[in-house]
Symmetry: D2
Subunit: 348 residues, 4 copies
């Protein structure tokens, strides 16, 4: 079989590096080019030292990109939308890992991002990149916009409940605990180790942009609201979303089990994690480092109608590069798990 | 001035050790005896190695305790209530750091602790141990029951809002991120370093007992509810409570500032932390290690009536030993800050 | 091709778990049985939660073991030597991951382990399990004794220098910095998270048993000495050995480069890491989590004849399960890298 | 008693911040001015958030400094030596916390620092700042140069052995494990949290400048050598020096105990830590956070003449600000422990 020729635009960041790693070991892919303006001419492994001995690729400038089968865009926010025509001319298929084409609504984009979208007419050309929700559309998609990491964990955790109309639409509170890789590879005062180590830092108590994605994917035509906060903790990879939802009617845990099994029973990358004994009773992000799993657990409050849904992912995998590769596999009709088999480490 | 003669029952745990440390450096206190059944006859500094060169006290058995001016009880839950008569006979004043006498209501105790209280008739003899709420009662108190750590952070964060009747009584969600010292010094499988390091562990998504204290102190005669969860993270000391409350009327941040200043403007151990620049814009527990501060910040959601209140403490200080000493100072008419002056470290 | 049928004795520990993970994804292996006396009847994934959805194997008791092609022994020290006849009857080939058969000399065993070996006549039946030193012997081996983790990093770091007779035989000092997984999965007071987090704990300043392996493999018929210490730090996986050797003649770094390249130029799992710029200039264990690499770097002291050799591995991989699988591949004539392709994560 | 009026030049860094904290709580000191060129006009607590509610001082520019009793200089390397005349005119006494005046020998300075000293004729005016070695000189000193952190731990660990001529002068190897605060508060690519977390980074395997201080203080007129390396680990504060020395004659541990007791038996800030049971058998830097202790332990190798000496300090306290304040107390005849009473926390 001829391999799919892919190139990666913006390959020096954490998402780009993770994607290169996955693609280098994908049996049906050839990584043709990787761009970086800051590191043009340098070996990719100089920036991503885990890839020493795995590749001799060098970064090129995006201006030198050649046509290929598919482009992965790993650019900072607000870059893809301004160069999209050029990228479309270079490849018939695009998977964009930035936030630029995630929202369908121009006005929602403006509300949450604080500026006008450069190409609002293209918003509907992109499939929102969570395979568990949009698998069929992906199979024929030309353009996919990979989902935000916090949004992915939240949406996958809550999707079965919202789809079945079980949740009080106004009250959901979501608290994400996130690692430092979520902030990318650019140094800043707050990322300096003595200041960042050991923190429990409320870095985005309100107005987090991923909220818009959650609202879009969970609304099912209704007006809903979710109250989202994010707290940075002393981990590098991984995030846990603790979602407090209030049920319209009082479901038993057994019934909730059934709802999740029906929604996700056949999903290769979703595991329902809910144990009555042992150490790891609920989802634990550290076990997911390097994997594409989304682990989901829940607990019904015995004294109220609250249901706590707990959802964990590796933000760079199921929250970025892994999910993008899962979508890629769907686009090309490969087994969805190809290149994503790593089960994670224990202990870690 | 003659020093107050105090003894500590149950001095080998983390709370006991912290209390010994504070009392040894308190100018008006003499630590007479410290008990431990497991370490009877051993030097206190063998168990609390930070106290090497600070004390030559040895643990004695509780059965050998002599009368003193005040007893601090640092026993496991369900111990104080079964031995309270003996302790009352040994000292005219008692500060109990366990959960045994925190609740006023016998039925609430049964609901949250799952068993009958041994001495329900005594519940009202104890003052609930948060000085910011019960300062005047403490000045004449004989018995004080020190508050739970998660409860302290939550209550202090929300007290001004509830007292002023500003909050939707049914909807508050509180998410605490906690360190490993909260679980005490007893080893278990889940506290084994390879399993505990790096976790984001949803250890108590519902039914946390500290909820009962929060309800008791914030109800002001109304029926209220709070939805509490706790997640264990990879820190040893400190906790952050992220409290999502929904305001009855749409207050501006300026008005909220005013409410907090009025409530806490003169409090020696409360700091309102809310900066528009810099690294530490909201409360950060690591800065509080070893201090008795409760730092409180907040952020109003621009798109809804949600107010996020962020409250941080050192669970062993303001959440246990420090707050107990603050209460002690009040009981004896000492300056409230005596022995609690340590400002904390940066960086840490 | 028919798969090799392997069983694992002692599969509930960290080394056993890691081995199960690797073997489950090995294309030419069938994992037939896994034993654990403590968890007989339980699903393997209950103890190794990373294997949820990867296997439905259950632990059996070692007493029920059936014959197979090869047995991996992951038992505690001093267990294999007492049951070795039974294991030999069950399988024609054995890879023992304990320390029981690493030393060739009965007297050295007694010196370092403090008791007599149960079956000293068998010590020479086992090949010492570092493929880079014993590759040819492994190809025809029936019994392999996998090397100690600290020994592996130290030996691989120093082997080219000792083999070429370049080192003052009496003066070498080796300082290993190690993670908590090295201590295994049994809880103890020192592994309790509040006590183990953040430590720089000199847990074995002298008399570390792995010293005996280092002496055995680096002596080349001469009398040598190495001065070994180990310090526990706040990581879970990985170790770094900093080896201070004193050169007999003053070599330039260029000459040292050449020596390492000649020794390891074709080795699939050794990378010489020595950069003049960037963040990761020398070996870094965190980049090796889950990989079978041994990364080696060095720096010549400009003011003396000291050479500092820096060697990093994942203690559970190249220091245990990974290296055992590498040996297994050699025994069966498989590509040495089969099942060991994971390149590691960045960032992590 | 009139308070000593001190000012701090370069108060925005970690050492400066720690010094401000200590001085604010010192009963006989008034902090008059604190300079910072980057933060002129800002409140000190904006940069050192632990000092919220402890001070309302603002940073001024060094150009505005007024005369005072004593100046603490917390400037980057190579700054003090170029402005020293101005500082001498402002204050009769100076404690310099930089490396500028630590070495007595102009040629050694050049060798280790790679450039000529601006004012070599002043090198002998400064007392080297370890009180345990230079207490008497300090009592009448006008100028003190505070010692390097790694040097302090190494020198204090080895001083009794070298002073008594017990050590093979050529063979000592010192391995320091250090935290991220040692690198100061300036952000760089290597200090970015995702890259710095979890590291065991050999950042200075040879040629560390603190070696020169160690040689100076331990030589006692002989030609000696020490082989120093430093490895960065995932802690913020604290360092552990593991010192491998080779004894000229075979001493028993009891004799070594005696040597250390004679040297340090009356020292307020040195503790010999060597336990045969419990968790903390040797010095542990995390227990020293915020304290001025240097904890020292040792272990004799049973199989050779090696003695491993283990020495721990808080790099910002006994390794910088605390030791400077200890020297200050000596200069003014105050009790040496004044303002340095904090015993440290456990657990932490």
């Amino acid at each position: 079989m001829e391999k799919v020729k892919v190139s990666i635009v913006g390959g020096s960041g954490y998402t780009g590096g993770e994607l290169i790693r996955l693609l280098l070991f994908h049996p049906y892919v050839e990584v043709v080019e990787v761009t970086s303006e800051s590191y043009t001419g340098k070996f990719v492994y100089k920036i991503h030292p885990n890839l020493r001995k795995s590749t001799t690729l060098k970064f090129i400038s995006a201006s030198e990109l050649q046509p290929c089968d598919l482009l992965f865009l790993c650019l900072p926010h607000n870059s893809s939308q301004n160069q999209i025509d050029r990228f479309k001319n270079l490849a018939p298929r695009i998977i964009d890992l930035s936030a630029d084409f995630r929202l369908k609504s121009e006005s929602e984009y403006e509300k949450w991002y604080g500026h006008k979208h450069a190409r609002p007419e293209l918003l509907n050309e992109f499939i929102y990149g969570i395979p568990e929700l949009h698998r069929e559309e992906m199979k024929n998609a030309k353009y996919i916009s990979s989902a935000g990491c916090n949004a992915t964990a939240s949406i996958l955790g809550l999707y079965p409940l919202y789809k079945n109309g079980l949740v009080d639409e106004e009250r959901t509170v979501i608290e994400v605990k996130a690692g430092s890789s979520e902030g990318g590879n650019k140094v800043n005062e707050g990322s300096h180790h003595p200041e960042r180590a050991g923190v429990v830092r409320s870095y985005m108590p309100t107005q987090h942009r991923h909220t818009a994605e959650i609202l879009q994917e969970l609304s099912f035509g209704k007006k809903i609201n979710v109250h989202f906060s994010a707290t940075a903790i002393d981990i590098v990879r991984g995030l846990l979303a603790t979602c407090h939802v209030f049920l319209k009617k009082d479901l038993q845990e057994k019934e909730i089990w059934k709802i999740y099994r029906e929604a996700y029973g056949n999903e290769p990358f979703i595991r329902i994690v809910k144990e009555s004994e042992g150490i790891y009773r609920y989802p634990e992000p550290k076990l997911l480092s390097g994997t594409n799993y989304c682990d989901i657990g829940f607990k019904k409050d015995e004294f109220s109608n609250r249901l706590v849904v707990i959802s964990a992912i590796d933000n760079l995998m199921k929250g970025a590069a892994g999910q993008a590769l899962q979508a890629f596999n769907l686009m090309y009709g490969f087994d969805e798990k190809t290149g994503l088999e790593f089960p994670g480490l224990h202990p870690i």
